[in-house]
């Protein structure tokens, strides 16, 4: 029963998110779009939180959300000239959150014996972690540059063969993570 309520809330929230973006098409309905987004987000959060069969540590959630409000509120009051930095910082936060959830899921399933770490889930976790932390560090650099922090160079750092090195690094990351996932498979079988 509660599962049905949760899933139904997700369906409604998804529809509201689509409407939210749709209303953003036109300046006349744009603020309604923001409202739809807020309602959808609140619905999704409450539906997830109110699952007595899964969620038991309510205090932890309440504290993390309260701290998020404490930081998010002042971040929305920055002067308009600082909005690009704020967006970059926000991207960094989002990337970090994705990376952390991926890391947490990996260690959770690893601790349960690795049976849950199917190759499909492992690929999803690998993508989540690589993209998440890449976004985190990259967006932090971008935010620092936009804010013109002293110890971050304004001119792009370039050197010969940079693209080869960067692509090589990505290849190394993917291969390294693939091997980590691959090594788990015998244990899972």
């Amino acid at each position: 029963m509660t599962v049905a309520i949760t899933q139904l809330s997700y369906v409604v929230a998804t529809a509201l998110f689509i409407l939210s973006l749709h209303w953003m098409n036109d300046p006349k309905s744009a603020r309604r779009g923001v409202l739809a987004g807020v309602v959808a987000m609140a619905l999704a959060v409450l539906a997830t939180w109110a699952q007595p069969a899964i969620i038991v540590h309510h205090g932890w959630i309440a504290i993390a959300i309260a701290l998020g409000f404490a930081v998010g509120w002042p971040l929305s009051k920055v002067p308009l000239t600082a909005v690009p930095q704020r967006t970059a910082l926000s991207h960094a936060f989002g990337g970090m959150a994705a990376g952390l959830v991926g890391t947490a899921k990996y260690f959770l399933w690893l601790g349960e014996g690795g049976v849950q770490l199917t190759s499909i889930r492992m690929s999803a976790i690998i993508a989540e972690i690589i993209l998440g932390y890449l976004t985190f560090t990259g967006s932090l650099m971008a935010a620092g540059k936009l804010q013109e922090i002293r110890w971050i160079p304004q001119r792009p750092v370039t050197y010969p063969g940079q693209n080869v090195v960067n692509l090589g690094l990505v290849g190394f990351l993917v291969a390294r993570q693939y091997l980590t996932g691959h090594r788990l498979q015998p244990a899972a079988a």
Partner: protein
């Protein structure tokens, strides 16, 4: 929920996820295509806030009966996502409020 579905369920999951991904791509392109140039910046910050829907995952990781170190990772993620949601929606609305004034003046 997804905890009980092991290998066989995960395969089904995978295909339905692929369908959702495909459909969502079309919906996303369709919905965004006709946005007026004026609204590009608020659209950016709105989608930034909406992308924080990943908060749902961090709520489950933080609140479930998992080992403490895993819940700490979840709580940090939950904090970061909430900060994004709050500041993202508020700043989008702030931009749009200013817009309205500009529109009236024209």
């Amino acid at each position: 929920m997804s905890g009980e579905t092991a290998a066989s369920g995960a395969n089904l999951d995978y295909w339905s996820m692929l369908f959702v991904f495909m459909l969502a791509t079309f919906v996303g392109v369709g919905v965004i295509q006709r946005v007026s140039r004026l609204l590009h910046t608020p659209l950016m910050s709105l989608t930034n806030a909406i992308s924080a829907i990943a908060v749902v995952g961090s709520i489950i990781v933080t609140g479930s009966d998992y080992p403490v170190e895993i819940r700490i990772l979840g709580a940090i993620a939950l904090f970061a996502s909430t900060a994004n949601i709050v500041s993202g929606f508020l700043i989008t609305d702030r931009m749009l409020k200013m817009f309205k004034r500009d529109g009236n003046r024209r």
